[in-house]
């Protein structure tokens, strides 16, 4: 019997090799791929919770957990696709036009992926038009817009407007060091999160609301 709790522990510890080995073992033992994926999702949720609550998880710990999951879950992807299991939700994410900073946005992507979202990462310096286009093309449920700088943060407003124009129903989430709750509200975003783990929670809350 494959040990899924050990897989959860390996992802949580950021132990890439063990996570990959245990995933392969579970596949070989015939465990359904969505169950294996769930074991990893549980781990990333816990990593995110500890990060948000300052319980010993910092950016390096989050990164190695996310990379362990990424490598291990790559083994599952063909199996998930073959069995018709696809992520329930799609998130389009990117850093706002004029801004090249991406670690916050990448962490949000990792946490959303950990929560089993399909991620369309538009990278950095993303124009409002590109956000809008990707929202339409991928039928995004969540659009995540990031900015590190006071000078680029103001450009989030144009991105929000462009997305609204093509899809009034998409839930728009904003974040980044200078961004506040008030600013999010002012520019018409649906949600704000102060860190990557909270972003994944807020995204899920917005979709069930």
């Amino acid at each position: 019997m494959a040990d899924l709790s050990a897989l959860t522990a390996a992802v949580e510890a950021g132990d890439r090799k063990t996570a990959v080995d245990l995933t392969q073992e579970a596949i070989d033992a015939g465990v359904p791929p969505d169950e294996i994926l769930d074991a990893m999702t549980v781990a990333m949720t816990e990593v995110g919770r500890k990060f948000a609550c300052n319980e010993g998880v910092y950016v390096p710990e989050m990164l190695i957990s996310a990379h362990a999951m990424k490598e291990a879950s790559a083994l599952l992807e063909p199996l998930l696709a073959a069995s018709g299991v696809t992520p329930e939700y799609t998130a389009v994410i990117g850093t706002v036009q004029g801004d090249l900073h991406d670690i916050g946005k990448n962490l949000v992507g990792m946490m959303l992926k950990g929560a089993n979202f399909e991620i369309v990462d538009l990278g950095t310096n993303v124009t409002p038009e590109a956000f809008a286009e990707a929202t339409k093309e991928h039928g995004a449920d969540i659009v995540g817009i990031s900015a590190l700088l006071t000078t680029t943060m103001v450009g989030m407003k144009a991105a929000v407007e462009a997305v609204r124009a093509v899809d009034p129903g998409a839930k728009i989430l904003v974040g980044g060091a200078p961004v506040t709750d008030e600013f999010a509200e002012e520019i018409g975003a649906d949600g704000f999160a102060k860190d990557a783990a909270t972003a994944a929670n807020v995204a899920q809350e917005l979709l069930v609301a």
Partner: protein, 366 residues
């Protein structure tokens, strides 16, 4: 009162006539200020007249015109910020790209790192770092000490001392993960900028700067970037060595440490290794009054004027009120050099900038 006496008094925890200040600006803000002041002449001869926010090569017209009390002279990797246009590669092999942003006051540019010479593990074996003993690196600091030290408090700058230069060599996420997954490799990479900036810091100390400005961004808006244990393993011992070696050259030299973000988890340990001054004290994530209460007997402060909200988006009244509040709290009894928490950027209205300068100049301690 001479500028340097004002700073010396504040750092001795006495109240001078007014709180000393140090203000830096991005190149485009410097241009705007130059036009506003009608200042003529080159701001930085070596850069074809373009201003260096860290002070390497500047001619200091603006700093003197606004009544700044400190003059900075920088030796080290950080001088490569704003060092070129379009795409350029610095002498460390880091590739930069100029990147525009729009503000109500025109188009500004950041320079961002896009190419990392040690991205591949094996690149380290053949990597040759720049030589910090080249005499010409210190020509500018010699001039600054000669021309300005009688009047101003001269700061030798070796910021991006360890961590930031190291990740510029390796890549940010890669080095963050190396700390946990490949510590030996991380040590080798961290040693490259550490050795370089240690040599520069020792040289600047021997030349007679009044203060040394070191630092690395180890904080984020919500807390430490890496765990305190990771910081203790990789960065604390190196900083401790730098501080002790520089103070062996000049025991009176003040050492400032720059880090963005909320770093309350390690402030006690920065004091323990001999850091005298914390910069920039980002008020959007650490309460300056609380820091004064908790650490004011052992630590001096530099910065504390909010650049996330007040300077770019506030009113001149907001700016003035914040400065008066700082003088009364974190600045009470001295121990503070006022300054914005980052170089003033193009998004700051000139009215706010002048409200900052005028309020600092007019707010009397007694």
């Amino acid at each position: 009162m001479r500028h340097r006496d004002r700073v010396a008094m504040a750092l001795a925890r006495e109240e001078p006539d007014r709180c000393p200040m140090q203000i830096s600006f991005t190149p485009e803000f410097a241009e705007r200020l130059r036009a506003d002041l009608g200042v003529r002449g080159m701001l930085n001869v070596a850069r074809g007249g373009e201003h260096n926010p860290h002070g390497g090569g500047n001619t200091y017209e603006l700093e003197r015109a606004i009544d700044s009390d400190l003059i900075l002279s920088s030796v080290g990797w950080a001088n490569n910020y704003y060092a070129g246009h379009d795409t350029y590669t610095d002498e460390w092999g880091v590739t930069w790209k100029e990147h525009p942003y729009e503000t109500p006051f025109g188009t500004g540019h950041y320079t961002e790192m896009v190419g990392f010479p040690l991205a591949q593990d094996d690149a380290l074996d053949s990597y040759v770092p720049p030589d910090p003993t080249r005499p010409e690196l210190y020509d500018d600091s010699e001039r600054v000490i000669r021309e300005y030290r009688d009047e101003y408090w001269v700061v030798g700058v070796t910021v991006t001392t360890i961590w930031e230069t190291a990740w510029a060599l390796r890549g940010y996420e890669r080095l963050l993960m190396d700390l946990l997954t490949n510590p030996e490799l991380a040590d080798r990479i961290l040693d490259i900028p550490f050795r370089y900036h240690l040599a520069a810091a020792e040289r600047l100390a021997a030349m007679g700067v009044d203060m040394l400005w070191t630092g690395d961004d180890i904080g984020s808006q919500k807390g430490m970037l890496m765990s305190p244990d990771t910081w203790r393993r990789f960065l604390k011992p190196r900083m401790a060595e730098l501080v002790s070696r520089v103070k062996a050259i000049n025991p009176d030299l003040k050492i400032a440490y720059h880090t963005d973000g909320d770093v309350r988890e390690v402030i006690g340990e920065l004091i323990e290794i001999g850091i005298d001054i914390l910069n920039p004290v980002q008020p959007a994530c650490m309460d300056p009054a609380e820091l004064k209460r908790d650490y004011g007997d052992e630590l001096l402060f530099w910065g504390s004027i909010d650049e996330q909200k007040t300077l770019p988006f506030g009113t001149p009244e907001d700016v003035s009120a914040e400065i008066r509040r700082r003088v009364e709290t974190i600045g009470a009894g001295g121990g503070l050099i006022l300054g914005p928490t980052h170089h003033v950027q193009l998004d700051t209205p000139l009215e706010n900038f002048w409200a900052m300068i005028d309020t600092i100049r007019e707010t009397r301690y007694t």
